[in-house]
Amino acid sequence: MRTTITVNGQARALDLDPRTTLLDALREHLRLTGAKKGCDHGQCGACTVLVNGVRINSCLSLAVMHDGDEVTSIEGLGTTEALHPVQRAFLTEDAFQCGYCTPGQICSTVGMLAELEAAIPSQETPRGAKPALTDAEIRERMSGNICRCSAYPQIVAAIKSAAEAMA
């Protein structure tokens, strides 16, 4: 099926088997291997990318469902010369060990900070209140991203420092 997806600002025309997930379209067809295939069932978050600015599990979506959408993967957030503030914070705070989950963690963080800005609640948000960037909120909001090296304390620190840098 013919599908056109704008990936990291560039329109990409693809001819795909409808079974192709967005993750496989990125990795196998566009050779953007930043988003990782961890569980392939939406449980680990390693495949997290932004679609029209919103974070989703790219493994649980068909590429053909995204015709006309704008997808941002880790490759589109920053470059080695000009890192995204979240990328820089993950480096500064040593927020990873093996690095496999990191592209998903970083894309998830970017989406998560936008959700906080948009006042989308989590189960840690007090009733009626605007959510704040507390440690409990960060942990809850990042619960869809697993880090098998368990760099969680540094990930929380990186997210706080990135949020300050972006404020």
Partner: protein, 316 residues
């Protein structure tokens, strides 16, 4: 994943027409549950009708002071709507108790209602499951049934419905709006959407083939406190063992039956002056367990009593 054809529906009418015209067709909106099951070949649709972009994602006030939530609204969008948070905090809190943020961003309100059980044997294609393969038998009856139903189960199926959102909607007396394959719109109480397993556990709902959920409609909120509580094995991103939704005099239980379970016996007891613990005991008179889920009866008794006490303003 088995091969299938795909089309994007241009209207709800076209979607239901396509669903009846094509054998083994399924609607897909967010796809977070359906694609997971398709990868495991538990679901094998031959044709997908993408309804995700139909203009049914708005949250709108209704004339009687209620709220209409379009079926294609994402779970995140529904939970974040200021009117939902203000007037139906129970619903917002139930939604954010389910899944992960990534899933809630993608999953639709209609799809949340249509998600399938998380029973381990429904997922394990090497084991018999009447829901997956009618007539095969039920491995959960004497197996790992820790999360099985304690209300309304049958000898054919003891699976539970996993939705948090649906439990809140049950307590709020929500109605479901659908478009049937003949083009007829209909509206019915959410408690009439899901069915008990009986002899046909492969059927989760009373929808006819090709019928599409278009909206969920909330009446004005009932007077009284709203509480949602969920018990699970992890603090976040885990399916529930049991949950309770309290909305004024209304009480619904989650993950204890094949459908959101309206605790009518507990409600009647409360109305007659029973304490929260007495009311829960009355409801649980009708409970039965299958072995590894025996604990759920005591769990629901305590969870319910605590949530009802919280709703009454007592400290728990």
């Amino acid at each position: 994943m088995k091969a299938f054809t795909y089309e994007r529906a241009q209207s709800a009418e076209a979607a239901v027409k396509a669903a009846t015209a094509t054998p083994a067709a399924k609607f897909i909106a967010g796809g977070t549950n359906l694609l997971d099951l398709m990868k495991l070949e538990i679901e094998q649709p031959q044709h997908l009708i993408d309804v995700g972009r139909l203009p049914m994602a708005a949250v709108e006030d209704t004339a009687d002071g209620g709220l209409k939530i379009g079926a294609m609204a994402s779970n995140s969008h529904a939970a974040a709507d200021p009117r939902v948070r203000q007037r139906y905090p129970l619903l917002s809190e139930a939604i954010v108790a389910g899944g992960s943020p990534q899933l809630r961003n993608k999953a639709s309100v209609g799809g949340n209602l249509m998600q399938r059980t998380r029973c381990a044997y429904f997922y394990d294609t090497s084991k018999p499951c009447n829901k997956r393969q009618p007539g095969a038998g039920c491995a959960a009856l004497e197996g790992l049934n820790r999360n099985a139903a304690i209300f309304g189960a049958s000898h054919a199926c003891i699976a539970t419905h996993p939705s948090d959102m649906a439990v809140a909607l049950a307590a709020l007396d929500a109605r479901v709006e659908t478009l049937s394959p003949t083009g007829q719109a209909r509206s019915f109480p959410i408690l009439e959407l899901h069915r008990l397993p009986a002899e046909r556990p492969e059927m989760d709902t009373h929808l006819v083939p090709g019928e599409l959920i278009t909206a969920v409609v909330l009446p004005p909120p009932p007077k009284g406190a709203q509480v949602y509580r969920k018990v699970r094995d992890r603090a976040s991103y885990a399916g529930g063992l049991a949950s309770i939704a309290v909305a004024g005099p209304n009480v619904a239980l989650g993950m204890v039956a094949h459908k959101p379970w309206r605790a009518v016996d507990a409600e009647a007891a409360l109305a007659a002056g029973a304490t929260p613990a007495e009311a829960m005991a009355r409801e649980l008179d009708g409970a039965s367990s299958a072995g590894r889920n025996d604990f759920k009866i005591a769990l629901v008794a305590r969870l319910g009593a605590a949530a009802l006490a919280e709703a009454k303003g007592e400290r728990t």
